[in-house]
């Protein structure tokens, strides 16, 4: 025992020597503090009451950082075996009369102490946050009590078990493979499982159990649990040590320890000796008659050629190794597998593997591996000559410094480009399974033009770290920390500004009808900007290149300064100039003219607007009018005219919002110029002369469409096509209630009143259209000829329309039942099924509501350009919403439901002349959502209905947990992500009780009342039970009903719980015990039964679904059937 303790202590001391431990702690702390104090998502949670050092962040950090801690552990747990060998002491140590197993075990324990200690590195950041706050670096409002208990909990149940397990596997692999590569192979595998659990199993909602067990850090489990936490839980809860977490911990501790024990028992001394068994003296030893060779003549040297040769040599050496191609194949296979899981097995799929879709999906799945791969081979190339004596030989050659630096850097960069294309190989392979067949060019444009420049940044930064830092372990650790940061940054946009997009590709999402055109300018300039940064970092690598034996940092700085006037400095200066020039262009086109705004800018703008405008008046009505738009494609501008007839503005003012980058050229009232006041994007027109009469109003606008999109969503106009909705080019009349700041803490910060102004309904904007009224004509003209959807039309409801235009002949048309589908040529089959869906759902909606809007055109819009929506008679269907899903499966069911909801919502909005008042969205989300679900059940059956309901239940839980605005009442939620699915679900519960016809009657009555001027909430109270109306419009309610057991007599026992959301948390509500029994048999009316009255439930025969008896959503429907 004494020997064990002594050796353990010695191992701890050996491990703590060197810079690795302090660098890991400082690196993690710095990264953590940057992220926790700057990421927009963190800030949004903070203002909701989740401090930056809350348990939510403690648990996520403690488990999540394992992805790169695995690599630190690989280094730490390989030391016990490799340290002696590197010091050429292994024979001395191994020949000593010591028990070998005990020695290795003791060293494992010592490494474990250090590994667990290092694994707790995130604690430093959390402990430093109050200190930073004390020095004014962070507002004290953002920090909660120091989470000592949660840090200890994390160390005991998250970090230490992971260190025990992964450490044991790393050590066992090192013993077996006799090199550090064994340990790093284990860490790479562990990282793979981490990513697979998070990106595939968790995000795809594929298997919570598998996700919980698969990763040694248990991060997928922790992420899923904490994501489902309420605000209150995020701020204070302890992570429950539930069965899944306990199973994970036991699995990842016991199995690796068993593996290590097995290896230790079988280990022999020769296992730990050098692996130089392959070396041999195979050359003739006494050759005396050697052929005579004369030294070669040497012609003039071209150092440029030498640089090229050095580049090719290093690239070739890497490419000859099996490790490179094994890793490459691994990325390709993981890419294919992840796409298969995400698109084929995902509960909201299946989807076809179109390249346009898979190239987006695949990046998220394999990015981390690509980054780790790049960091690994770049480090290997940078340090390839660091073999005993070789670096000195190479450094003493006359080749200028640039040959060494550029040769190696370019070799790493060539491999980086190859690796950036690896995911695209998967995309090409997967495209074989898509209906349109093989796609080759597009994926490689994506990989080469967008991904490669970003990956080159990762490559060159890693290269610089290895040039700058002498210690390989420290440099590799820092590069892996950076890789982790880059991966998180890719997901979370920690550095959100367009110029801070380090290691992130230009955001782009190719669509079939637009190709790459919307992105090309941004991609070229953004790529050049990223390459300029690469040049700057390359210059730093050049300046700090370690030529010769180690020098002190002071000497290195002197040497670096001395190199500034040389080629390295010139490259740096040229790159810096390019960076600045391209940076200015990017800033101009994405920030000034484009759509990028930060959360702070948005908040500042909203606060300024609220302070300056008079939101208490501005009532208006309009009968209709005309809208004309001229689009100058070459100039990337548009001019639009909105003529309003019979406009009434009794308050003497008219509010409105301009389209993005819109500018008012003139306003006329009854042909006379009128005063207009513009604040931000909001305008107010002086309508005093029309206070007591009806006027005509003409608004002339000019729109600059030359900006670039910062997101994957394209701009509406590009050089070869336009996908324009009326809101892109025309003003929206009325006050927009969604523009107000709604987070109380943020409102206080800006000195705003506790609640946003509550404008009179008549002053509010229409819910989705641009102007109310019922008699509109519109027309659009493009400066260049091309294929188009209809360019003019009349509207019987609020003003809204959309058009598509393409200079190139890319449109295909499919027609059926008088409806024309305009789509890409690869999606003819999808067009036919969409026609069927629209026809089915429109007929069903008309059946329930008595009427439904006409649809004359269905247009396949570019990917991410808005939501599935109805603009006039045109159904706008973005490519990712309906065009990728398979002919059968949940994905198509969801599409059918959404089509039905959109049709029903437009009908209700028009019928009710709906303004965006509090509660109005119950009609378009709740009532329309129920109608859509009812249509699905009536056409596709109860099984399909339950499938969609189950998905919605999961969706609502996740959206409520992730809401970035305090969840209060549905009526005040407006466009919050949780509101739409919740309203549909809770309304369905009410409608089940009321019956299909009864519910439809109530909805029609409410519509009529609202049209007559009655506020929606009041209309609801007038037509349904007040308590029901209040529940539908109030805070979200949830239920969990489960069939606990089926008795031999066929009766069942139930459990039923109910919660209401209050102050950021689910609060258990007193439940009546009643549940609603909905039968698949359409002829049987639903029953209200008591959960205790099992005999009532039993023996009914046929399939039924149990739902809450009052409006709420059911968390898990699978146990209700």
């Amino acid at each position: 025992m004494k020997f064990l303790l002594e050796q353990t202590w010695r191992e701890i001391q050996d491990q703590l020597r060197g810079p690795l431990v302090p660098i890991v702690f400082l690196g993690v702390a710095a990264f953590q503090i940057i992220m926790l104090t700057s990421a927009e998502y963190t800030q949004e949670l903070t203002v909701l009451g989740v401090p930056v050092n809350s348990p939510y962040w403690v648990y996520r950090w403690s488990a999540g950082q394992a992805i790169w801690m695995y690599f630190v552990w690989a280094w730490i747990f390989s030391r016990p075996v490799l340290r002696d060998r590197e010091a050429v002491l292994q024979e001395i140590v191994l020949s000593a009369p010591i028990p070998l197993n005990m020695l290795v075990l003791a060293r494992y324990l010592g490494a474990l102490v250090v590994g667990a200690f290092v694994g707790a590195a995130p604690s430093l950041g959390f402990l430093l946050l109050p200190v930073i706050s004390a020095f004014g670096g962070l507002s004290s409002d953002l920090i909660g009590p120091t989470p000592f208990m949660h840090l200890v909990w994390s160390a005991i149940f998250l970090t230490t078990p992971a260190a025990i397990g992964v450490g044991a596997l790393c050590l066992a692999a090192t013993i077996r493979m006799r090199s550090v590569s064994g340990a790093f192979a284990v860490s790479a595998l562990a990282a793979l499982l981490w990513v697979f659990g998070v990106s595939i199993l968790n995000e795809g909602n594929i298997s919570p159990i598998a996700a919980s067990l698969i990763d040694a850090s248990s991060y997928p489990h922790v992420a899923r649990v904490t994501d489902g936490w309420t605000i209150q839980q995020k701020a204070s809860a302890i992570l429950p040590l539930d069965g899944l977490l306990l199973a994970n911990r036991l699995l990842w501790v016991l199995a690796p320890l068993a593996a290590l024990s097995f290896v230790l028992v079988r280990m022999k001394r020769e296992d730990l000796l050098s692996d130089r068994a392959t070396t041999s003296e195979a050359t003739p030893r006494n050759r005396t008659n050697l052929p005579v060779f004369q030294p070669a003549a040497k012609s003039a040297t071209s150092w440029l050629a030498a640089t090229l040769q050095e580049t090719c040599w290093h690239a070739a050496v890497s490419l000859r190794g099996w490790g490179f191609w094994l890793s490459y194949a691994f990325i390709v296979i993981v890419g294919c597998a992840s796409v298969y899981m995400r698109l084929q097995v995902a509960p909201d799929g299946p989807f076809y593997t179109y390249a346009h879709l898979t190239e987006i999906v695949i990046i998220g799945a394999v990015l981390l591996f690509v980054l780790i791969f790049i960091a690994s081979f770049t480090g290997m190339i940078a340090r390839r000559d660091e073999r005993m004596g070789f670096k000195e030989i190479v450094d003493a050659t006359p080749a200028p410094l640039g040959v060494h630096v550029v040769g190696k850097a370019f070799a790493a960069m060539i491999l980086t480009v190859l690796v950036a294309l690896a995911p695209m190989v998967s995309v090409v392979l997967l495209s074989l399974a898509a209906p349109a067949g093989l796609a080759v060019l597009d994926p490689f444009i994506f990989g080469g033009l967008l991904l490669a420049p970003a990956m080159l940044q990762v490559c060159i930064l890693t290269f610089f770290l290895h040039c700058f830092i002498k210690s390989p372990g420290t440099a590799y650790s820092l590069s892996i920390i950076f890789v982790f940061f880059a991966a998180i940054n890719h997901e979370q946009e920690l550095l959100g500004h367009p110029l801070a997009q380090f290691s992130i590709p230009v955001h782009a999402a190719q669509s079939e009808l637009t190709g790459w055109t919307p992105w090309l300018e941004h991609a070229y300039v953004g790529g050049l900007y990223r390459l300029a940064i690469v040049g700057v970092i390359l210059a730093f690598a050049w300046l700090f290149w370690r030529r010769g034996v180690a020098m002190a940092m002071k000497e290195r700085l002197t040497v670096a300064l001395g190199r500034v006037p040389g080629m390295g400095g010139a490259i740096g200066a040229a790159s810096l100039l390019t960076m600045v020039a391209t940076g200015v262009i990017i800033h101009t086109h994405t920030v000034e003219l484009g759509d990028y705004t930060s959360m702070r800018q948005d908040n500042d703008k909203a606060a300024r607007l609220e302070k300056k405008i008079d939101a208490t008046r501005g009532a208006f009505t309009v009968a209709g009018g005309k809208a004309f738009v001229f689009v100058d494609v070459a100039e990337a501008t548009a001019r639009s005219v909105m003529e309003l007839d019979m406009l009434e503005a009794p308050d003497g003012i008219l509010h409105g919002d301009l389209p993005r980058q819109g500018r008012i050229l003139g306003v006329k009232i009854d042909d006379s110029d009128a005063e207009v006041d513009v604040i931000e994007d909001h305008f107010t027109i002086d309508m005093a002369r029309c206070a007591d009469k009806r006027c005509s109003l003409t608004i002339n606008l000019e729109i600059d469409a030359s900006g670039w999109s910062f997101e994957e969503r394209p701009m509406w106009l590009n050089k070869t096509s336009a996908w324009m909705r009326a809101s892109d080019v025309l003003p929206k009349l009325g006050l927009n209630p969604t523009q107000y700041l709604r987070v109380p803490a943020v409102r206080r910060q800006y000195g705003l009143a506790e609640t946003p102004p509550n404008a009179p309904t008549a002053a509010l904007a229409p819910l989705s259209a641009l102007a109310p009224g019922e008699n509109w004509t519109w027309s659009v003209e493009f400066s260049e000829p091309g294929e188009t959807t209809p360019l003019s039309g009349t509207i019987d409801g609020p003003l809204d329309f959309a058009v598509g235009w393409s200079k190139k002949a890319v449109f295909a048309r499919t027609e059926g039942d008088g409806v024309i589908v305009v789509h890409g040529k690869r999606r003819s089959m999808a067009a036919e099924t969409i026609l069927i869906d629209v026809s089915d759902m429109r007929n069903c909606v008309a059946d329930i509501l008595g009427a439904a809007p006409d649809i004359s055109t269905i247009a396949q819009a570019p990917r991410f350009l808005g939501d599935l929506s109805l603009h006039g008679n045109l159904l706008w269907a973005p490519e990712e919403q309906g065009w990728d899903v398979g002919f059968e499966g949940a994905g198509r069911l969801l599409r059918r439901v959404e089509i039905a909801r959109v049709i029903a919502a437009r009908h209700l909005e028009t019928s009710a002349a709906l303004r965006d008042e509090e509660g109005a969205r119950w009609l378009t989300s709740g009532a329309a959502g129920w109608i859509a679900l009812e249509c699905l059940r009536s056409i596709d059956g109860s099984e399909a209905w339950r499938t969609v309901l189950d998905l919605k239940g999961v969706d609502i839980t996740a959206e409520l947990g992730a809401s970035r605005v305090p969840v209060t009442r549905f009526s005040q939620a407006f466009d919050a992500d949780w509101a739409k699915p919740y309203a549909a679900y809770s309304t369905l519960v009410w409608a089940e009780g009321a019956g299909r016809n009864g519910a439809a009657d109530v909805i029609r009555q409410i519509t009529t009342l609202v049209r007559s001027g009655r506020p929606t909430p009041a209309a609801m109270r007038d037509t349904m039970e007040v308590e029901i109306a209040e529940t539908l419009l109030g805070p979200p309610s949830a239920s969990s009903i489960a069939i606990a057991a089926v008795k031999p007599d066929g009766s069942v026992t139930l459990t039923a719980q109910r919660w209401v959301w209050r102050n950021g948390d689910w609060v258990e509500a007193e439940a009546s015990g009643d549940v609603l029994q909905s039968f698949d048999d359409k002829n049987r009316s639903p029953l209200i039964v008591n959960a205790d009255a099992v005999s009532v439930v039993a023996g009914n025969g046929g399939t039924f679904t149990l739902l809450p008896s009052t409006p709420a959503f059911e968390r898990t429907l699978t146990d209700n059937i």
């Binding site: 050359t283 040497k298 190794g321 004596g389 190479v394 010769g548």
Partner: protein
């Protein structure tokens, strides 16, 4: 000083960050031929050789080669330099031929055919041609040494710095290498650092003895040995017996320990005359700077 192939070092000093003074003002003037550098571990030999090979800058002093200030224009020396460090490790994933050709490119052989010809010539010269396509990582210690020698010879350097070049070579290879060095030294400087005093004595026209960062002795072997002629005496005593006072060094033998002392005359009749060799000069120099008598086995 503009003599062809002349290396001149003046007042070279180097102190490391941990306070160790590796060089305390070294002066050398080296002309073509084999020049030996002797010294105990920690004497500063490797520091001196790395400094001369432009791998680390001195704190002060000057180095000129053919009159050119090497510290200001290190590439001048690098283009005329061959350097063989003390230890060479395995280089994974690359054949000897490929690596040698790469080093040739870095030495300015950017013409492909010339580069290949030079590599083939040297692979034959160091007897590695048959193993040229094997991975360097599979080479034995001796093969690695020969590979390093080939790398150092690329471009027929005018200054060849070799640190312990024959360590790891068997006697045949060692003898062969001595021939190569001797041939090479005909019109180039070969600076040879070694612990094997016999090698220096047999091969080098001149040598320096370096210890504690200073040159203790410099000259031709015969010049350095001559002052000891008739002044060295030896005596063998049993192991447990007391050592003679001020012995230069001792050598274990089967009869006991054989001591060498320096005196004007034999201390007593038990001593016999000892013919001076470079090893005695070396130990005498060590004794002058306070090094305790060492066994000749240690010195070797």
């Amino acid at each position: 000083m503009t003599d062809e192939n002349t290396l001149m070092v003046r007042g070279l000093k180097k102190t490391y960050g941990n306070g160790v003074q590796a060089l305390k003002g070294v002066d050398l003037l080296i002309k073509p031929g084999l020049y030996g550098l002797l010294g105990p571990n920690g004497a500063g030999k490797s520091t001196l050789m790395r400094t001369l090979a432009t791998l680390q800058p001195p704190d002060s002093g000057s180095i000129t080669f053919n009159g050119v200030d090497v510290l200001k224009d290190p590439d001048y020396l690098r283009s005329r330099l061959g350097y063989l460090p003390q230890n060479i490790g395995a280089y994974p994933g690359v054949s000897g031929r490929s690596l040698l050709k790469r080093i040739a490119a870095l030495k300015g052989y950017t013409n492909k055919s010339e580069r290949e010809a030079e590599a083939e010539h040297l692979l034959h010269r160091v007897n590695l041609h048959d193993a040229a396509d094997r991975a360097v990582a599979t080479y034995s210690g001796g093969m690695l040494r020969r590979f390093g020698i080939a790398a150092a010879f690329i471009g027929s350097p005018k200054l060849l710095i070799v640190d312990e070049p024959t360590a790891g070579l068997d006697p045949t290879e060692r003898r062969r290498f001595h021939h190569v060095l001797a041939d090479f030294a005909a019109d180039a400087i070969v600076l040879l650092s070694t612990h094997i005093i016999d090698d220096v004595e047999n091969l080098c026209a001149r040598l320096s003895i370096l210890a504690k960062g200073r040159i203790l002795a410099e000259g031709a072997p015969a010049e350095l040995i001559a002052p000891f002629d008739g002044r060295l005496w030896t005596k063998t005593v049993p192991n447990e017996s007391q050592a003679p006072e001020n012995a230069l060094y001792e050598t274990p033998t089967s009869e006991g320990l054989r001591y060498v002392v320096e005196r004007d005359a034999a201390p007593d009749e038990s001593y016999v005359s000892h013919k001076p060799r470079l090893e005695d000069v070396y130990h005498h120099a060590m004794q002058r700077i306070g090094n305790t008598p060492a066994s000749s086995a240690e010195a070797a």
